[in-house]
């Protein structure tokens, strides 16, 4: 038994990365990032606003949170809808009471089906980030090229029509991309994406159609990962976020601006028995002088002129 000789060849074993998307960079050796008003930690709340058709599709893959039982899966269809009808408004009230602007990663189907939600988001000063057509709009290598391009273009156009402004940001469902997704995003006028989790500050990401900014949206400290996947409590989740904020405030004093992304899901964090812990966390974070609650768009915009051109 032996392996194909090519398995022991390493054509991309070289200085730097094994691709040309971005240069290697050490967070602690970069020119410090300065946030507006001398703030130290940008707390970026991103809410995923999703519509799951009761007829799930598995091409290219079934989205996390999608239907699980045999048809008709009333249980999961309605639980997700609970988040959109009820949980979202608990979150929005919590943000409104504290003057916190957030980014809402919105399926285009939400804009089509529930325009009053979009009106509320716009009126309350939140940012709409494009997040696919609906939860069957997943992207991965091997999918049909035309469908790939259409998912991205339709998502942006529908949200643009609903909000009156073309979204600047993009979040892929499950952060899943095909090899050329960044090219399609850039060609469609997207300025930043939230998919790559390899850093803790925005950085430049190259495509054949010009550069994007990647704003890393930590997938590990999302409510989906901590509460739904790892089955920890809301109290523990809030504690972890507070610990993270305090660590980053300490680092910021020495190394410049830091960023803490908080990725929330209405049907997870917007439940009656969880929302109190989230509200209390927001109060505790707001009490820290160095915290700047900002949308991912504000963060990208603030960081862009400060990023290395390399």
């Amino acid at each position: 038994m032996s392996l194909d000789p090519a398995y022991l060849e390493y054509p991309k074993r070289r200085r730097g990365m094994d691709h040309d998307r971005y240069a290697y960079s050490n967070l602690f050796e970069r020119a410090p990032i300065a946030w507006p008003a001398g703030k130290q930690v940008a707390v970026a709340i991103v809410v995923s606003l999703e519509w799951f058709p009761i007829l799930p599709e598995d091409k290219p893959f079934r989205a996390p949170g999608h239907m699980q039982t045999a048809y008709p899966d009333f249980r999961h269809y309605t639980s997700r809808e609970y988040g959109t009808r009820v949980g979202l408004y608990r979150l929005l009230d919590a943000f409104k009471a504290r003057g916190i602007p957030v980014s809402v990663a919105t399926n285009a189907a939400i804009a089509t089906r529930y325009p009053e939600i979009i009106a509320d988001l716009v009126a309350e000063g939140h940012e709409s980030v494009a997040h696919g057509t609906d939860m069957n709009g997943t992207i991965a290598s091997g999918m049909d090229d035309a469908k790939h391009a259409a998912v991205i273009a339709d998502s942006l156009t529908t949200l643009e029509q609903a909000t009156g402004a073309r979204p600047k940001g993009w979040l892929s469902i499950a952060r899943s991309q095909a090899m050329d997704t960044p090219e399609i995003l850039a060609a469609n006028g997207v300025e930043y994406m939230l998919d790559w989790v390899n850093d803790e500050l925005p950085y430049r990401f190259d495509t054949a159609n010009g550069p994007l900014i990647n704003v890393p949206l930590n997938h590990e400290i999302s409510d989906r990962q901590v509460i739904t996947v790892q089955q920890q409590s809301m109290d523990s989740y809030a504690q972890q976020l507070e610990d993270a904020c305090d660590w980053l405030l300490t680092e910021a004093a020495q190394f410049g601006g830091r960023m803490l992304p908080i990725h929330l899901t209405p049907y997870i964090s917007g439940l009656p028995y969880r929302i109190d812990a989230l509200e209390s966390l927001l109060d505790r974070l707001a009490a820290r002088d160095g915290v700047w609650f900002a949308t991912t768009g504000q963060i990208a915009q603030s960081a862009a002129p400060q990023l290395s051109k390399a």
Partner: protein, 301 residues
Amino acid sequence: MQEGAGDPGLYGFRRWRDRAPIRWPGDKQVAVWISPNLEFYELDPPVNPNRKAWAKPHPDVVGYSHRDHANRVGHWRMAEVMTKHGFPGSVSLSVALCDHIPEVVEDANARGWEFFSHGIYNTRYTYGMDEAQERAIIEDSIRTVRDLTGQTIKGWLAPALTHTPRTLDLIAEYGLTYTCDLYHDDQPGEVAVKSGRLISIPYSLEVNDHYGFFVYNMSPREYADTLIRQFERLAAEGEQGGTVMCIPLHSYLIGQPHRIGAFEEVLRHIAADGRAWITRSGDIAEHYLATKQVVQGEPAL
């Protein structure tokens, strides 16, 4: 190993009770070593017929970029905390990191850390290699680490824990003295090999941060508490004869901002305790090899 046998014949049986004691330097009771895995994963690696590199079609954006966090962010944060509390690293190294991002390897070297091989990339598996291929990755490992750091590797942790029946014999033949791939004990012990002398240094799956966070789904504070319990027990039992506690880490996990603070408290606790020999895997191996003769009946071959 005994290929094809139900008992692979890796070592002889020795019960935990009534062993001849191991004595650590300074009469410390537990040798504590931290093993940061400094790795490089490929975005689009070739396929090994025995194991897929990524769960998703390439690019697996989350899988790849999560691990890339280690080199951009996590390593630097983790390494500072370790140095602050006096803990050196014993690095499980994807040796291609020496080519891609020598900054990370040079930083570890400058901090006085030791290196052992964890293969070329953590996306290239040993399963299915013939002897010449396996020799090639061992020789590549020795050469690559020596060229960048001046160190000669003494240990091996198979890439992504993938082995062949001949791996242990081959690393011993090349003069390596220890393996981290065997999980049968809380003390070092002899491993049966065709030539040379190879010992097992206890690594750990159970208190590995990957297991803590992704198998047992612990919160950062629960994981920190787990490490302290592990330490307390092994330090207490070490009164009868030195034990070993390894803390295997991946900085893209432990170096996240919500985890590093709780982990720092663990290091503070162990450093202040006084019973720990805070050391490196190669120093444990060297001490053991110098002070322990091959015990009669071990390995039982």
